[in-house]
């Protein structure tokens, strides 16, 4: 599986890329000096550069640490069991986000809680439905009625007249 060494390298490469994207974006607005002082790109340019440099530094430290035989680098970042546990949590969570964006947050909440409790947690239908519907109803009453904040809704709510 993934060792800490590769996780460190991948993360540092990602932050390096982020830094460079910022530097590139900042160049568009000018990084020099004009009549009104420093141009708008200057501050992000230097900060982005700093992020990129520090990421390079982490890459170097990690690489030299590997040759010097640092103790924690060969350790597993994520083994099979842990990876599966994370995935079993992350995948339904992803589905929840996708459903929230398409079907609206209330419907997504109900479907997500039903899935995690009934399929993953193996609870009875009664408890599952009570929890899922109860949670959605609680948020509906608290947000829409009490605080007057409306959540993202999909095509199903109007059918119920909500």
């Amino acid at each position: 599986m993934i060792t800490r060494f590769w996780a460190e390298i991948a993360t540092a490469l990602a932050t390096l890329a982020f830094g460079l994207v910022i530097v590139n974006g900042a160049l568009e607005f000018g990084i020099g000096w004009d009549s009104s002082g420093p141009q708008p790109g200057a501050f992000p340019f230097y900060i982005g550069g700093l992020v990129a440099l520090a990421s390079l530094g982490t890459l170097v430290v990690t690489a030299t640490g590997r040759f010097a035989g640092s103790a924690d680098l060969p350790e597993l970042f994520l083994d099979r069991d842990r990876g599966l546990r994370v995935l079993s949590f992350l995948l339904p969570l992803l589905a929840f986000v996708v459903l929230s964006a398409t079907l609206g947050m209330y419907v997504a909440t109900i479907l997500y809680l039903v899935f995690t409790m009934r399929i993953q947690g193996r609870y009875g239908w009664l408890g599952t439905l009570a929890t899922a519907l109860g949670t959605a109803a609680f948020f509906y009453l608290a947000l829409e009625k009490f605080f007057q904040i409306s959540l993202h809704k999909g095509p199903l709510e109007p059918l119920l007249g909500l």
Binding site: A7, S36, S88
Partner: protein, 503 residues
């Protein structure tokens, strides 16, 4: 004496039925947030913040600070009863708190924790009462270069004293600053760094970052650990609380020392977590029988708890007086202040004295309310943890994403929270510090403005940061803090060479 009169005025603002009810609600929500894994104080404040947009700022800040106190107390409850720190800052409480609970002294451990925490918090608030006016008056002399120097000092101390790899701290901080600069630039009116994505026009909200990094990231980590709650049942009886309270004065030295450590770490951005560990280590080192630590020594509960809460409340001082938050939670609250249209910093004391002193008075009241409420509700919250994580976890996920949506009512923020969650998970696993990222996001714009204005004053010369004694001192402190790891290493190697020669 000015301060005292102001404080009395503050009490008259804070001491209304409405505000007392808000305190109770805040503390209860806070304990809940502190008890549940994946929901910590910064996160709880972020989730609640959108609901306060329509409230009066005084009521809103009382609600949020009470939530903070509650969260600190809730974190200690789970540490002691379940050996699971609900908050990072209560990790040190598990060392002796849980052994005490297992020996059947749960009530004693809890009472010690809450009472000493209350003591620490009061010490922090008294300091704020005495010093804030003075610090604010001093800070009125600051102009842009001094402000930039203070921001520089804040981040230098993260890099130098944070304990994480300095390179990783810089990366995390820099990401925060750049995220803050996305969207409309307040000085030039340009729209920066959006890469033509319309959803980025309004910028990236720090609330979403906190919810993702602290909430979703923490949940993923909790899931990976696959943790199980095996708690010690506790029922708090008034008699035991009183008996424990009577024992407390015996530990006056630990209380005093821990308060000082906490206050110091709260004002400098060391934060409550570092404070509690440092205080525990100091208590152990100076104890007559250090062997008892880790096996249920009351001082091992008192020391970290006092420091934790002292740091938590003292972190409000730099936020109010200078506009620099001392912890991640204070950063979120400061962001809230700005959203409510207040300008944290020295001018707040002259512009909105009712707000400042109402808040300070509410800290006294809030902590007293918190101690009472938390002692009364321990069994209730302990029973919440007996609900399996496979139910609680998904419900917390729903709360986090709904919170992310309510921050601005934008669908894109849900995706952003997801991304921040994944980043938070990886960052935590690889020891990237997250607090600097949040702090940088909140004060990023102010730091940039201070830098640009200084540059305009000086026509682009960096020498303005050495142009008068005040700014020079601030910059020098900042540079010393920044170079601290290097100085320490050099000193070590010098000493190593010296001993090698003498051998």
């Amino acid at each position: 004496m000015d301060n005292l009169a102001n404080l009395m005025h503050g009490f008259s603002v804070a001491l209304t039925t409405h505000h007392l009810l808000l305190m109770m609600a805040g503390v209860l929500l806070g304990v809940l947030v502190g008890v549940l894994p994946g929901l910590g104080a910064p996160n709880g404040v972020s989730l609640l913040l959108p609901l306060t947009f329509s409230m009066d700022p005084v009521s809103a800040i009382i609600l949020l600070t009470s939530l903070y106190w509650g969260a600190l107390f809730g974190g200690s409850t789970t540490s002691i009863l379940f050996n699971i720190p609900g908050e990072p800052s209560s990790v040190a409480t598990t060392f002796d708190g849980h052994p005490m609970a297992k020996q059947g002294r749960a009530t004693e451990a809890l009472s010690f924790a809450f009472l000493s925490a209350g003591f620490g918090a009061l010490a922090g608030v008294i300091l704020i009462t005495l010093l804030s006016g003075w610090v604010a008056k001093f800070a009125l002399r600051f102009s842009s270069p001094e402000y930039f120097a203070v921001y520089f000092m804040t981040f230098a101390s993260f890099i130098g004293l944070g304990g994480a790899s300095p390179l990783k701290t810089i990366v995390s901080m820099g990401i925060g600053f750049t995220l803050a600069s996305i969207g409309m630039d307040s000085v030039s009116g340009n729209v920066r760094l959006t890469y033509e994505f319309d959803v980025l026009l309004a910028g990236v909200s720090f609330l979403i970052a906190v919810i993702g990094l602290f909430g979703i990231g923490e949940l993923l980590l909790t899931m990976e650990e696959g943790l199980k709650f095996e708690g010690v049942a506790a029922k708090v009886r008034i008699r035991d609380v009183v008996l424990t309270a009577a024992k407390l004065p015996r530990y006056w030295l630990a209380l005093l020392r821990s308060s000082l450590i906490g206050i110091w770490m709260g004002i400098t951005p060391g934060g409550p977590t570092a404070a509690s560990f440092m205080s525990y280590a100091m208590a152990k080192r100076s104890s007559r029988n250090p062997a008892k630590f880790g096996k249920g020594e009351p001082e091992g509960v008192i020391a970290p708890e006092t420091a934790d809460h002292a740091a938590g409340s003292a972190a409000m001082l730099p936020m109010l007086a200078l506009g620099i938050p001392g912890s991640a939670t204070a950063a979120v609250m400061m962001g809230g202040l700005m959203i409510w249209g207040l300008n944290p910093g020295p001018t707040l004391f002259t512009d909105r004295p009712d707000f400042v002193w109402g808040l300070i008075a509410s800290m006294y009241l809030g902590n007293v309310v918190a101690v009472v409420v938390v002692l009364a509700t321990v069994p209730l919250f302990a029973s919440i943890l007996r609900i399996p994580f496979s139910i609680i976890g998904p419900v917390i996920v729903v709360i986090c994403f709904i919170g992310a949506y309510t921050a601005a009512g934008k669908g894109f923020d849900i995706w952003l929270a997801l991304i921040f969650g994944l980043v938070g998970y990886v960052f935590k696993k690889l020891d990237y510090p997250i607090a600097p990222l949040v702090l940088a996001m909140v004060i990023g714009d102010k730091a940039e403005d201070a830098f640009r204005q200084s540059m305009i004053f000086s026509q682009g010369s960096l020498s303005i940061f050495w142009s008068n004694p005040l700014v020079t001192t601030l910059m020098a402190i900042g540079l010393t803090l920044l170079l601290m790891p290097l100085i320490g290493r050099a000193a070590l190697s010098l000493r190593g060479r010296a001993t090698a020669r003498s051998d």
